[in-house]
Symmetry: C2
Subunit: 311 residues, 2 copies
Amino acid sequence: RKTKEKGNIEIVDIESDGEEKTKKEKNVGTKKMNQTSSDYSSIDFSCNKSTIDGKTWNFKISSWNVGGLKAWLKKDGLQFLKYENPDIFCLQETRCSESKLPPETKVDGYHAYWLMGDKEGYAGVGLYTKVKPLEVKYGLGIKEHDSEGRLITAEYDKFYLVVAYVPNAGRGLVTLPKRMKWDPELRKYLKQLGAKKPIILCGDMNVSHQSIDLANPKTNTRNAGFTQEERDGMTTLLKEGFVDTFRHLYPEKTGAYTFWTYMGNARSRNVGWRLDYFIVSERLKPQVCDSVIRSQVYGSDHCPITLLLHM
Amino acid sequence: RKTKEKGNIEIVDIESDGEEKTKKEKNVGTKKMNQTSSDYSSIDFSCNKSTIDGKTWNFKISSWNVGGLKAWLKKDGLQFLKYENPDIFCLQETRCSESKLPPETKVDGYHAYWLMGDKEGYAGVGLYTKVKPLEVKYGLGIKEHDSEGRLITAEYDKFYLVVAYVPNAGRGLVTLPKRMKWDPELRKYLKQLGAKKPIILCGDMNVSHQSIDLANPKTNTRNAGFTQEERDGMTTLLKEGFVDTFRHLYPEKTGAYTFWTYMGNARSRNVGWRLDYFIVSERLKPQVCDSVIRSQVYGSDHCPITLLLHM
DNA sequence: CATCTGATG
DNA sequence: CATCAGATG
């Protein structure tokens, strides 16, 4: 059903996350505070899983769409680094140019790399790493996309790490055409890169691959993040020699999401989407110990995810 | 000294209210909350003053630049009506079109009138009145200014009430030309109106008339609100048969301001400007009991002012 | 519902 | 240092 019109573009109502609205919720004067900080002490960050051949993890990578670095910092988002203590930490939607980075973004023990596009306050990705990469490259090598600050590649001894913030298809799918260009460009880029070393791709892929990956698949088939076009893009990527580590390890697990709209208390009701992934080259599969969703960690409308490897 | 350039316009540093900045105040992570609500119980709203010929007040008018009606409501601005209980209450900078007025703006015992311009979230004036006016007119009758929602005229039995939100001359005085058109138009309008009945003009005149009317006259002579041009406009108005009631009653009173920038804790240091006025036709002067500044009342960067009359 | 910018004051 | 709109998610 239609709620607004803007020019000739039909804007569909996705504000209820595809659920039917039964009441007209006016909420006058009932503005509530969302949960912003995490109770880290109650979260178990340990991991006793191992690889198929029984090797325990010795390398950890985390990723988080922070939805605005400056706001996330105020919500103590960096605390996550202390408790999770990953070797590599990838951030998406930093929305903060390097010159405006607050000083606390310098963290002892990590090298930091940042990429912003031309548009202020839009997109942007970042990378914290304990081991200095052999090389860091910015962007896909495609002008249209690289002006937006969506991808960093860090070359390590044994693999490439790619942080990505995939373009959102937008309200009314206005930017689905952009996305349809991005997806094959990314695949092409990864194919070239993968010829040299295995790849660990992480970040906000802005798609829930299958019905199991979101709470309301039926009502969201024409909304950004669950169109057939976007889903097909992910299917194609996975066919080209990549593994969705989480779904590989937990093929039947329901209710596992990494994003919840701020609207309608979606997070407390777990009305969410799995949009954030660790996707690795097939040949890295034997080294994966676990792929976990830190759904108890607050600080943005996404939660962090962590990959544990034996390297 | 110059802090920013924008195109060819030189933007002078008025963020310190004309004071010299001695320290580079970084204030990282020290975001403070401003005082937003008033302790009405500690404020004396009584008035024992009378007219020259000893008559006590029986009619009260208040005026307040609310700086955004919706935010002001959240800060309990309407509480002021209960404690002050004026016969007429005038608002400026409501920045709220009539269709978006929150329901609590309907107040028992008052008729309300609102005017917004074409630009959403900009300017706007309002009027609460216990006695229904004989007529309410919107605007000055000049297209350029009336598209901005800056003036309401209410005709009563014995006088005209004019609520005005005078155009700000802007950073770098970019809108001083607009102001220089407005001032004579307003005087012309008041002259016509005054031929029929005496006038009570109130609102944010966006000028401190004399040096006594602001904390930092020396450093603000080329800033909006204290240019010679704006001051001359007020001088001319007062020469044409109008009285600045506050300064008439308190010709020597210093530190009497109605506006303080939110920047640099100006209000707590009383680094302010007198920008809000009750200006009446000379022939109403004998009926004025008092003209007061409610500087203890919070809710915007301006405080309310009140005029007490014997009608 | 929340984040940003940019205009405005 | 605030408010608001509008874009974006």
